[in-house]
């Protein structure tokens, strides 16, 4: 039971690391496209890792309710499909509206 807790802690910590990297990239990068490049992938991977850790925790600590595991599996599949699609839709809308990408020497926008 201790090994399972260690594996769950490692998965949750790595997921939190990726979510922090995504948030710092959303704050610090100079342009709209670079901000979404940072946060679109890091958030998806971080949330996937956290929910995989929670699935393992639930399988070993609450074995009486396996339906919750199926719900979390549906949630991780939906996040892996929907989150990059939403980010792509916003970036495509901004590009069609004529938002210029950032180049060297320009200020932060």
């Amino acid at each position: 039971m201790l090994l399972v807790d260690v594996i769950v802690a490692i998965l949750l910590t790595s997921g939190m690391f990726f979510m922090f990297v995504g948030a710092i990239g959303l704050l610090r990068l100079p342009d709209f496209y670079t901000r979404l490049h940072a946060t679109g992938k890091c958030d998806t991977l971080g949330e996937g890792l956290i929910i995989v850790g929670l699935i393992i925790y639930h399988l070993f600590h609450y074995p009486g309710t396996p339906l919750v595991t199926v719900k979390l599996l549906f949630l991780i599949i939906f996040i892996f499909i929907a989150n990059p699609t939403a980010i792509h839709a916003i970036v495509k809308a901004a590009y069609r509206r004529g938002l210029k990408p950032w180049k060297w020497g320009e200020g932060r926008r």
Partner: protein, 86 residues
């Protein structure tokens, strides 16, 4: 352990909320609101383990769909300037 992870997710939500408030232009704000919504899904799942109530595992499924649909509608509106045209 879950309480610490939940508080760290709240800190990342506050970091993204800075971009949603002061971000230049409407596209930055919409993207930051989408990111806050996808972080809230994980926060709701972890709240289910903190309070030990199985109700909290049904809400994130609905909230993920609502966040996705809202972002798509906002992207379509910002791209075309109208929602339905015929």
């Amino acid at each position: 352990m879950f309480l610490v992870i939940g508080l760290l997710i709240v800190v990342t939500i506050l970091l993204c909320l800075y971009r949603a408030v002061v971000g230049p232009g409407v596209f930055n704000r919409v993207a930051a609101v989408n990111v806050v919504g996808t972080k809230t899904v994980v926060l709701l799942v972890i709240m289910g383990y903190i309070f030990e109530r199985p109700l909290f595992f049904d809400i994130p499924l609905l909230y993920a769909m609502l966040n996705f649909i809202g972002t798509l509608v906002f992207a379509k509106y910002l791209e075309r300037g109208e929602l339905c045209s015929w």
